[in-house]
């Protein structure tokens, strides 16, 4: 799109630039990515570089009795836990996970030994034997007695709520694990610096998380650890905390060998060894009056955290806060626990616990409607949160609460009620889900993060200095749009520095749908500060006359957001986005395959800074949600992913993805830039329950995902009845 030309040295451009926000301007990273010029970590080769490899446990729980190197070690660098200069813990929430197993392994694929060699084939061929004393593993979250985190949320008086009910309905809902399948696997290069420091370049979402983890491991001060994000091919949360581990491994090999070391996982290793979505079991007991008013909601959430704490407490917390759904109810108790099992740690994944609990509540709502003989839309309309209502944590909904708006729009444009009638008894079904998603870190998380962003005036415009990463979602573009408009500059005059901890401030992790709402807002504040410092000059003029100018700003917590971590009461999130999904399915009577044939998403994001990118997030998140709902199944055998290949872990192809009708709604929030509330995660909250409710409408009572043909077959009443529906 052509921009009005503004000569860089024209002191008073007569035509103000066309605002960039709200327009689908060309992506900042498009040309480099499309031309193949963008450098991902596996494209980088440094002089003298070695290849690194991770030797991992092949048993879920054991003491390590002996490690034998069955190869000629000439030319090899070998590292085990005794080579660690600092502390052998991955610093995150708790310090329980070692970088390298020291005597004991607690899950399959746990790193034990590191090898490096300059020839990749030689490295791969090196044989290592490990003797174990096998210990009995705990592989089932329900059999585990070790909770990594417990919490409860209480509102009102549950017993009083049940006393008001005409009907009490219970149900148990299960969601499976999910693999991120980012297009680029995990990879990292470590470079030993002459001063004893270390530089890491890799595929990652959160440079400062890696920074935090590497300092204690290498026993180095912050200024001698430098983390640079290479171009990154997707993350979905899978590169939130995991890169700390691979970075630590590369750093240890680089330190010992004195040479740069690259570790890049192949797909099999990436699937077998790295984090996944937490599987969950959610139980509901709900009181409801005959006319459909929710009087009491009791929800119990269990998640499988895997072997180490990693991010399980916060995943559980977000899951629980969303567990009562987008509904008002005076009497609520939500309890949650994340259990330790001897399986690879589960971690961050788009939605962060909310998709699991929203699946449960939305599948449960359709069962309640069925039990009442009520239309599922009517049941939701009756109970949907409205401005002034409070959530389970007692948070009062503001004017931007759009639950009813998204619901009504989706119902109307899909002709939901007509199809609901028409499809009855045909093997087809239509179902919907209503959901919300809190933007930013939970509770006081943003205050603790205390993010910072900066802007630099340069001779060509302004440069954004943030730790936020571009991982394909459009961070660079979106931030540049916000800054361009805040500065009154053309979009082309705004650039973004590479995330490099030596150069950019810590603007917090690129997760939790916070990069637009939270970091974008700080950048807006930076722009205001910069304008006040420029004294009427353009940034270019200022830089030419006085040299570069850098301004930075810290996160300012919104005054009306209060949260109590101990009681789980208050404003859990500054804002919520709202969504309604409608899915249509066709069930093959012979093969029990459920095919999603049409999909509608109406989603309120506050403000679509870049409509095409927002649509991309909604389409992609919906496709990923449909995959999770119907097909993506992590087969765990003895604690190991038995189908760690793209052949057998089947994400949807284009032929499995229905045509999508996407509607972006804008109900601006008070705190984000231009009212933006976040869109990265919300789209994956709604597809699974909408699909399963459509399957229910088609006649099959399914309460777990993935709803594979095998699961549908088990739900089919009998062989004859299944055939008769054709």
């Amino acid at each position: 799109m052509p921009q009005p030309a503004v000569a860089a040295d024209d002191p008073s451009p007569s035509i103000p630039p066309t605002p960039a926000v709200g327009r689908s301007v060309p992506r900042k990273d498009a040309a480099e990515k499309v031309s193949g010029e963008a450098k991902y970590v596996d494209d980088l080769t440094l002089p003298g570089m070695l290849w690194g490899r991770t030797v991992r446990s092949t048993v879920p729980r054991a003491r390590i009795k002996a490690v034998r190197l069955c190869f000629d070690t000439a030319g090899f660098t070998v590292v085990d836990h005794t080579d660690i200069p600092g502390r052998n813990v991955v610093a995150l929430i708790e310090e329980d996970q070692p970088f390298l197993a020291a005597g004991e392994v607690r899950h399959i694929a746990e790193p034990i030994l590191l090898l490096a060699h300059e020839d990749r084939d030689t490295l791969m061929a090196a044989k290592v034997e490990i003797d174990y004393e096998i210990l009995p593993p705990v592989l089932d979250m329900l059999a585990s007695t070790e909770a990594l985190k417990r919490l409860s949320i209480d509102k009102g008086d549950l017993e009083a709520g049940f006393a008001e009910a005409d009907l009490v309905l219970e149900g148990e809902y299960r969601t499976g694990s999910q693999e991120h399948v980012y297009i680029e696997t995990n990879g990292m290069i470590a470079v030993p610096e002459p001063d004893g420091g270390i530089t890491l370049m890799g595929s990652l979402q959160c440079p400062y998380y890696v920074h935090k983890a590497i300092k204690p491991l290498m026993d180095l001060p912050g200024d001698r650890v430098r983390i640079v994000q290479a171009e990154t091919g997707g993350g979905f949360g899978g590169k939130e905390e995991y890169p700390s581990l691979i970075a630590g491994h590369a750093a240890l090999l680089a330190r010992k060998s004195g040479r740069p070391v690259k570790i890049v996982y192949d797909r099999g290793e990436d699937m077998w060894a790295t984090t996944k979505r937490h599987p969950a079991i959610v139980r509901h007991r709900t009181g409801v009056t005959r006319d459909g008013r929710l009087t009491a909601m009791e929800v119990d959430v269990v998640m499988d955290g895997g072997a180490y704490v990693t991010l399980s407490p916060v995943v559980l917390s977000r899951g629980c806060i969303h567990a009562a759904g987008a509904y008002r109810c005076d009497h609520v108790r939500i309890t949650g626990r994340a259990m330790r099992t001897d399986t690879p740690p589960n971690g961050a994944f788009r939605g962060f616990g909310a998709p699991q609990t929203l699946f449960a509540v939305e599948a449960h709502m359709d069962r309640i409607a069925e039990a009442l003989g009520m239309d599922p839309v009517e049941l939701r309309e009756r109970n949907a949160l409205r401005p002034g209502d409070t959530t389970a944590t007692g948070q009062e909904m503001q004017e931007d609460c759009a639950a009813l708006d998204v619901l009504r729009e989706a119902v109307e444009r899909t002709d939901f009620h007509r199809k609901r009638e028409e499809y009855r008894g045909t093997g087809r079904g239509i179902g919907l889900s209503l959901f919300f998603h809190g933007s930013g870190f939970t509770g006081s998380g943003e205050v603790r993060l205390a993010s910072r962003a900066a802007l630099e005036a340069t001779e060509t415009g302004v440069r954004i200095l943030v730790g936020s990463s571009e991982i394909g979602q459009g961070t660079r573009t979106m931030h540049a749009q916000i800054v361009a408009d805040a500065m009154g500059l053309p979009y082309e005059q705004v650039e973004t520095a590479l995330p490099d901890t030596a150069k950019v401030p810590d603007s917090g992790p690129t997760v939790a749908s916070r990069t637009c709402m939270v970091v974008g807002k700080i950048l807006q504040n930076c722009a205001a500060e910069m304008i006040s410092r420029l004294g009427g000059l353009t940034p270019m003029e200022y830089a030419r006359r006085h040299g570069p100018l850098v301004v930075s700003q810290d996160y300012v917590p919104p005054g009306d957001v209060k949260w109590d971590d101990d009681t789980y009461k208050g404003e859990a999130y500054a804002h919520y986005g709202w969504g309604c999904n409608v899915a249509e399915v066709e069930i093959d009577p012979d093969t029990f395959e459920a095919r999603c044939t049409a999909f509608t998403a109406v989603e309120d994001v506050g403000k679509a800074i870049h409509p095409v990118l927002v649509r991309g997030q909604i389409e992609g998140g919906s496709a990923q949600g449909i995959g999770w709902a119907l097909n993506e199944r992590v087969v765990l055998v003895e604690g190991a992913m038995a189908n760690a290949t793209l052949t057998n872990y089947t994400i949807p192809t284009t032929l499995d993805t229905p045509p999508m009708d996407i509607v972006i709604m804008e109900r601006p929030g008070k705190h984000g830039p231009h009212g933006a509330k976040g869109v990265g995660e919300m789209p994956i909250d709604g597809p699974a329950p909408a699909v399963v409710n459509a399957i229910r409408h088609a006649g099959l009572d399914v309460r777990e995902i993935p709803a594979t043909p095998e699961v549908l077959m088990a739900a089919a009443p009998s062989e004859e009845a299944a055939c008769a529906s054709s």
């Binding site: 084939d121 093969t591 029990f592 189908n643 057998n648 095998e710 299944a722």
Partner: protein, 275 residues
């Protein structure tokens, strides 16, 4: 773990005779056609062979021709795309076109060959039930013994095992005229790029019904007893019973024995009884 590529050796004969002589005098050499199975095995480090021979440029293996008496001869090196585009196959063996269209995606169809699918001997190979139901004959050739013909149903001897000798190549498949209406159905793990959980080919309305099914036993199953039952007027329920006895499905990471059993029975009904 990925096979180290540096250790691999590749021979490139220009004619079939040269290829067969290489196999005899300089074996063992594993033939490579489209490589779509072999690459996967190398990637997963499960390919024992280190020495290979490229047969993709042998003209003698290409081509789709009509035979005297209404039959069809398909070169072992014919790709799925060639099969999909051949009017002759559409006319005489439409169920092979249907099967070819469902193999992998377009890229795989451009490279993958019928000979590779059969020689690879996976019970999930999508063309296998078609060739079994069509009473195809496998034409094999070696430098030592020249040509021999093996009925398709006798070609596979067990899970990933066949009568193919290391000094032999599959040259072609001969398919006698198929009378009756052909039917093919693949039940994969997703809509494309999928390995079959059950794959079924059937012919009815000819002199006798013919049924073959894949992914439900160590080799593709030609269900002769079910055919007989149906030919002699058994009810579909009785035929389903017999069919259930002819297959031996297992649980694996892709599905369950129970699912395969029930879907096999459903497909038999769908094919035989229709709507």
């Amino acid at each position: 773990m990925k096979t180290a590529l540096g250790d691999l050796e590749l021979r490139q004969p220009r004619t079939l005779d040269e290829a067969l002589a290489m196999l005899r005098d300089d074996g063992p050499l594993l033939p490579l056609a489209g490589c779509t199975d072999v690459y996967v095995q190398l990637e997963f480090g499960v390919m024992p062979a280190r020495r290979f021979m490229d047969v993709s440029r042998l003209r003698e293996l290409r081509g789709i021709e009509r035979m005297d008496g209404g039959g069809l001869r398909i070169g072992a090196g014919a790709t799925y795309t060639e099969i999909v585009r051949a009017p002759l196959v559409a006319q005489r063996l439409p169920m092979l076109v249907a099967a070819s269209r469902e193999v992998g995606g377009v890229q795989i169809q451009n490279r993958g060959t019928l000979g590779g699918n059969v020689a690879n001997a996976s019970p999930a190979g999508d063309s296998l039930p078609v060739l079994a139901a069509a009473d195809a004959v496998v034409v094999l050739r070696s430098a030592a013994d020249g040509e021999r013909r093996v009925p398709f149903t006798a070609f596979h001897t067990g899970y990933r095992a066949s009568v193919l000798r290391p000094d032999e190549l599959i040259v072609a498949f001969e398919i006698p005229p198929v009378e009756g209406e052909q039917w093919f159905r693949k039940v994969g793990t997703r809509a494309a790029q999928a390995i079959s959980k059950v794959v079924f080919a059937g012919v009815k309305g000819g002199p006798r019904p013919r049924i073959a099914i894949g992914s439900v036993a160590p080799t593709v199953v030609r269900a002769f007893r079910t055919e007989e039952a149906l030919a002699s007027g058994a009810s579909i329920e009785e035929a389903q019973q017999v069919f259930g006895e002819e297959i031996r499905p297992i649980d694996d990471i892709r599905s369950t024995a129970e699912y395969r059993r029930r879907v096999a029975a459903n497909l038999l009904r769908r094919w035989w009884v229709g709507q």
